[in-house]
Symmetry: C2
Subunit: 206 residues, 2 copies
């Protein structure tokens, strides 16, 4: 049985990183695809865990070899999703969560229309601004750019199948997990188990 | 915000009645539509709670007035779903669970394509037969008819969006609840809450 490809997106500061970490630590059967990026590593991040941090030259050679399910330039840096990693996890029956920016999410939806898509919304613009400001990993210029971009990003919420409003971390984590578990109960995710049951309906038993 | 219409179906003996009772007792925000039937009341059932038990004459006059979202004759008795009850619950923002036979489920899907549809499967034909036999509410003739019908019913599983395999009551109840909660997180179920958030993205705040 194949896993689901689950796209989770939000504007910067929407809190998707934190929520996804909590879902991963509390839900079985989820793999994770580590993305590639050319942006600098932040404090507390690790190469190969949070991202593969590569140079623009390496990134561009990976584009050439077709290694990216999607890639995009966001806030002046490349971000890309490894196609080979995603395919391996899904073929092994694990769901894969893709934590990507809104433009990247739309690209993956086009490339993989069967993907499950979830948009995480901040409860308000004010909360988004506060979160980005207190994160303090941004220069003033970057902060301003992210806030400006967020207007276009939230407007694209209607391209996503599900919406999670991140006003409470525990509630939002529970909601993400609920969506992931429910998607495993889709009939076409269970064809093998159902086939075994149907085989037991043998007319000679009547 | 409108509720969801949730169709839960299974072959006779699939256990949907028990599971639905447990979901109703443990999940907020779910209304219930009491169906009409012309079959005799069983021990432990109550009129207006389990069904509205009516004569064939009353049932047929309700057909005439268009009161049924769907109705069907199953095992020689009429079963019908009250359109007015369902609409009232959904317009009040509550989900409505319809516990109906497979033919009735297909009829509701045609009449209400936006409905969520869940098929409950027994783990095997042997378990289905054992459950129907130990229920002991059936005559031998009825039991034989239900078992025979079950072959055609399970074959229609692929018309449903979700499948729940009822091999463990607690697990199956949890899965039903998970599907119901996840469907509330569909983006188009949350348009009003999202509208409020989007309104806070006022460009003059930048």
């Amino acid at each position: 049985m194949k896993g689901n490809l689950i796209i989770i997106s939000s504007p910067s500061g929407g809190g998707k990183g934190t929520l996804i970490k909590e879902v991963l630590s509390s839900t079985a059967g989820i793999g994770y695809s580590v993305s590639y990026t050319t942006r600098p590593m932040r404090e507390g991040e690790a190469d190969g865990r949070d991202y593969f941090f590569v140079t623009a030259g390496v990134f561009e050679s990976l584009i050439e070899t077709g290694e990216f399910l999607e890639y995009a330039s966001v806030h002046g840096n490349y971000y890309g999703t490894s196609r080979s990693q995603v395919e391996r996890e899904i073929n092994d029956g694990r769901d894969v969560i893709l934590e990507i920016d809104v433009q990247g999410a739309l690209n993956v939806m086009r490339a993989a229309p069967e993907a499950v898509s979830i948009f995480i919304l901040p409860p308000s613009f004010e909360v988004l601004r506060e979160r980005l400001t207190t994160r303090a990993t941004e220069t003033a210029e970057n902060l301003s750019l992210r806030l400006k971009n967020s207007f276009g990003e939230v407007a694209l919420f209607d391209r996503f199948q599900y919406a999670v409003i991140n006003d409470d971390r525990t509630k939002a984590t529970d909601e993400l997990r609920t969506i992931i578990l429910a998607e495993r109960l889709k009939r076409d995710r269970q064809t093998e188990a159902i086939r075994v049951i149907l085989d037991s309906f043998d007319i000679s038993k009547l």
